[in-house]
């Protein structure tokens, strides 16, 4: 076991002290959204109590302060993913908006009818639907790289899909329904060998492992703040500067302009060009606090701790008769998707909830993945930096009991 300050970390998350249905909360729905440390809560309270005003718009003291905090958060994000410049960090509402931005701005301006976009069989709807919409609008074609029964991308088939007409690859760094971590370095290398840019959907990967966009050499990387212990309503689009420069704005409005007359508008430079309107100011400053928090613990340390948790949970699960793990990739993050013989995931969800255990039951916004495995839904336990072996024991005991009750 690694040396990990789990007691301290748990104490930092006030909600973990709550009870649910008179039982201590066991929160295992982290892939949907993570809980927030006190530092993030305090940051929001601080902004609204002491330093709030709109940004980039005033000469008055509070506006200058808020702008400074906001831009400091941008610098924190830049450092966190090791981007070359803060010009490459665009604040959005979440991973979903970031992908839509790329589809509508990059896709519409750089792609044309007949061009192909390659995704994988394990994508979240957020990395499927925006591309389908683009295909309907301009006649591009969506291609899906298959996976095997373990939930691993079949790399050779992915590579074969990369052809003359392929103009973009968009793929999950880590799958939310299966936990699979894709071989993103190889994916980027294979695509770049054919001059195809790559978007990585990092919504699931970002809280679980160090991410270095320059080492990955990806062209776009997107994630949501709320899955990284930060506030909801925050998200990040990283894009290589040259690509972002060439892209038209996504939305028009205040903050994204240099000069407006009724005849013509000159757009602002990066990153403001893509940030029309008032953003989630306090929340994005709070995202900066979340990044400080996980950085202090260390992303490598968190990854190592969660790997131990996942190994332990997988071992326990494999001993339960009638419990079937969905997604058994060799490279996997802290997600345990499962079904129980003859027990519907919704019943699992309600029954575990009565024991204070929060898991997700459903299709996890990945209906094609459910179809692939021939199940309507799965139950999913997903781990975060604050979960413990004891909580996994409570989960497994709950599962055993409900198998008994259903008989």
């Amino acid at each position: 076991m690694i040396n990990y300050p789990i007691e301290q970390i748990r104490a930092d998350f006030p909600i973990l002290g709550e009870t649910v249905r008179n039982k201590p909360l066991v929160y295992l729905d982290n892939a949907a959204s993570c809980q927030k440390p006190q530092a993030v809560i305090d940051s929001i309270v601080h902004t609204y109590s002491r330093e709030y005003a709109n940004i980039h718009r005033g000469v008055h003291t509070l506006s200058v302060k808020a702008t400074d905090r906001f831009e400091t958060a941008r610098e924190k994000v830049r450092g966190f993913v090791n981007a070359a410049s803060t010009k490459e960090i665009i604040f959005v509402r979440g991973a979903t908006e970031a992908i839509n931005l790329v589809a509508q701005s990059y896709g519409k301006s750089q792609l044309k009818a007949g061009d192909e976009i390659v995704i994988s069989a394990m994508e979240h709807h957020a990395n499927i639907v925006p591309w389908q919409m683009l295909c309907q609008q301009i006649g591009t074609v969506l291609k899906v790289a298959p996976m095997n029964r373990k939930g691993e991308l079949i790399f050779e088939e992915f590579e074969q899909l990369l052809g003359e007409n392929t103009k973009l690859v968009a793929i999950a760094h880590m799958s939310n329904a299966l936990g699979t971590i894709n071989p993103v370095e190889r994916i980027v290398a294979a695509a770049h060998a054919k001059n195809i840019p790559v978007l990585l959907d990092g919504a699931q990967a970002i809280p679980h492992m160090p991410v270095d966009v320059r080492a990955l050499d990806c062209d776009f990387y997107v994630f949501s703040g709320h899955k990284l212990y930060g506030p909801s309503g925050t998200g990040v689009l990283y894009g290589k500067q040259a690509l972002l420069e060439a892209m038209p704005p996504y939305q028009g409005g205040g903050d994204m302009i240099r000069m407006v007359t009724f005849e013509k508008t000159q757009y602002a430079g990066l990153p403001q060009k893509f940030e029309a309107g008032t953003p989630a100011i306090a929340e994005i400053i709070g995202l900066g606090a979340a990044i400080d928090y996980v950085t202090a613990v260390g992303m490598d340390t968190i990854a190592a701790y969660e790997a131990e948790l996942l190994d332990y949970a997988t071992e326990q699960a494999e001993q339960i008769k009638g419990m079937n793990l969905i997604g058994q990739a060799a490279e996997k993050g802290g997600i345990l998707s499962f079904t129980l013989d003859r027990i519907h995931p919704h019943d699992i969800g309600t029954m575990l909830d009565s024991l204070g255990i929060a898991v997700r039951a459903g299709h996890h916004c990945a209906m094609p993945v459910m179809d692939f495995y021939g199940v309507p839904a799965t139950a999913r336990a997903s781990f975060a930096m604050y979960n413990t072996r004891q909580e996994i024991d409570v989960l497994m005991q709950g599962i055993k009991s409900l198998i008994e009750v259903f008989g």
């Binding site: 008179n22 309600t350 024991l355 209906m367 309507p376 009991s401 259903f406 008989g407």
Partner: protein, 150 residues
Amino acid sequence: MFEDLRDLYQEVIFDHNRNPRNFRIMENANRRVDGFNPLCGDKLTLFLKIDDHVISDASFQGSGCAISTASVSLMTEIVKGKTEQEAETLFTQFHEMTTGKTEEVNLEAIGKLAVLAGVREYPARVKCATLAWHTLDAALKNQQEAVSTE
């Protein structure tokens, strides 16, 4: 271990989940409607045979959670032999019971269906119980398109 859930998961529900009644395709049905709960992926197909405004036979196919399976299984039992009008009245009563619109459930009228009253305490699960009945409602109104709980 699951004491808190006794109101929701009554023995009758486990029983119908294990051994759903009228779980078959009806070849000579004259009404057939699909019901779908996009939230959880539950799907069912309801078959009715209606002769002279009386439901002479009811059956279903599909897969769902224990609540939705028990609900549709119980429903096919109870509507058999009822007139369309009586079945519509049951639908209304069932809907009111599960959504908590009326405090007092007319237990006599609703009979065995009362075992599903527990869902009203679980807003996330109400649709599991009502999917069957919305599908029935569509079948009675002779609608062809699939029913969704959205």
